[in-house]
């Protein structure tokens, strides 16, 4: 059998639609996991032992159970308790929750890296804890965790391919449809591999640029 990529030409638009859906799912789930990650990172600094314990258990569980199992838990489980949501929403929820576990670690590391003197300066000026957190701790932590959060996003893009198993026709889902119509799985999946690799490569470049831009004023201090 010869490799012939031209047979894919008619399906480019169809695959692009899938890629768009992948982008949408990941964009929403990224927001979800960063918000969740922030909340969990805060919870892990709580004075209450049970709040810290709960936050730790969440991170530990969702990092050590396969995403596929988490996804099926939500996809098949939620209807059982009367919550009927579509594959897209299920995918977003599952990706956000699993991504949130990783994002919380990234944000937590960013928080722990903040120079204590900066926080003390804020405290003695009388700023309430909430303001210190939202105006000083979080912005600094988010800036320094852009890169690790970027890795979370890249992982999420790769993981989102698993959503094809719950009938969501994102990039991989659509590619499976194309193979069933063309009977050319080799060509389709080779191209798909390259598309994902190119996609994540572009995202990593974008993250580097974002990192540089956000930290343009935080160059290592020079005296």
């Amino acid at each position: 059998m010869k490799i012939d990529l031209t047979i894919l030409a008619p399906y480019v638009g169809f695959l692009a639609e899938g890629a768009l859906l992948t982008a949408e799912v990941c964009a929403v789930a990224l927001v979800g996991s960063v918000i969740l990650g922030m909340l969990v990172a805060i919870a892990r600094t709580s004075q209450l032992a049970w709040v810290r314990g709960l936050a730790f258990a969440y991170v530990d569980l969702f990092r050590n159970i396969p995403f596929l199992v988490q996804l099926f838990f939500f996809y098949y489980g939620l209807p059982e308790i009367g919550i009927y949501i579509d594959a897209f929403t299920t995918g977003v929820i599952a990706l956000s929750i699993s991504g949130g576990a990783y994002a919380s670690d990234a944000i937590r590391a960013g928080i722990l890296a903040i120079d204590n003197g900066i926080i003390e300066a804020a405290e003695v000026s009388g700023l309430p804890r909430r303001v210190i957190f939202t105006r000083i701790v979080l912005p600094i932590a988010l800036r320094t965790s852009v890169r690790p959060l970027g890795s979370v996003l890249i992982n999420m893009i790769l993981t989102s391919s698993i959503l094809s198993t719950i009938t969501l026709n994102e990039l991989t889902g659509n590619a499976r449809i194309v193979t069933s119509e063309t009977f050319r799985p080799f060509e389709v999946y080779v191209v798909l591999l390259l598309v994902y690799a190119a996609l994540t490569y572009l995202v990593s470049i974008a993250i580097s640029l974002l990192h540089r831009w956000l930290n343009r004023d935080m160059q290592p201090e020079v005296n």
Partner: protein, 223 residues
């Protein structure tokens, strides 16, 4: 299927699934580590063309979804190579290659962490490149890599769940079957999740125990 209730036999099924998961995990980890280390050595010898090829393949493998890699091997290879690829073969090939790609990166950075000057110093003593590799680099690199390697393997254990999608009767697939039969998704996926979680914890524990031993060993030798 006639039975919709759980039977004691289901526990046996789960155990079998866990066995398949762990067996494939061990086999592909072993193969993956071997291949990855060999790739690292090829790079150490700066073999032209091959080094670039390995780097490229490893980048693609790291930056594309394992599920798509699995589809390529399982659906794409038979037509192209005119060979029969069973689900287990596809799983072995894909997971080993994927693990190898990440091991390669760990191996490269482990070798680099040792530093050119140490390598050069040993060469000045008249050691061949191979002797340097065996006696200077390998022991230190092993101690250096065990941490990242453990983290990788904990992750790869979860990745094995994807082989259920192409029909390997692993833990996730048994879960899917039980789920279809009993229509009790919460119980099924919770049980499956717990088993994966425990297995992941076991891998992490073994890894850190090994790390402690290696550390003690290399400290004793004054490295």
């Amino acid at each position: 299927m006639r039975y919709t209730e759980f039977t004691p036999f289901d526990l046996w099924l789960l155990t079998q699934g866990l066995g398949v998961t762990i067996g494939l995990f061990l086999a592909t980890s072993l193969l993956g580590v071997l291949i990855g280390v060999v790739w690292g050595v090829i790079r150490f010898y700066r073999v032209p063309v091959l080094t670039q090829l390995i780097t490229f393949v490893s980048e693609i493998l790291k930056n594309s979804p394992v599920l798509v890699q699995l589809f390529l091997v399982f659906f794409g290879f038979p037509g192209l190579l005119k060979m029969n690829v069973t689900p287990v073969t596809a799983a072995l090939i894909t997971l080993s290659a994927n693990t190898a790609a990440f091991v390669y990166v760990i191996a490269v950075s482990a070798i680099e962490s040792i530093g050119r000057d140490q390598i050069e110093a040993a060469r000045v003593f008249g050691l061949t490149r191979w002797q340097v590799l065996r006696h200077v680099i390998a022991p230190q690199a092993a101690a250096f890599s065990i941490g990242p390697l453990t983290a990788l393997l904990v992750n790869q254990l979860q990745v094995t769940s994807l082989i259920s999608v192409i029909g390997v009767m692993d833990l996730a697939k048994i879960g899917a079957n039980l789920n279809l039969r009993t229509l009790k998704p919460f119980i099924v996926w919770t049980a499956v999740g717990i088993l994966y979680y425990l297995a992941a914890k076991l891998v992490a524990m073994l890894g850190s125990a090994l790390e402690k031993r290696l550390r003690a060993h290399s400290a004793f030798r004054g490295l």
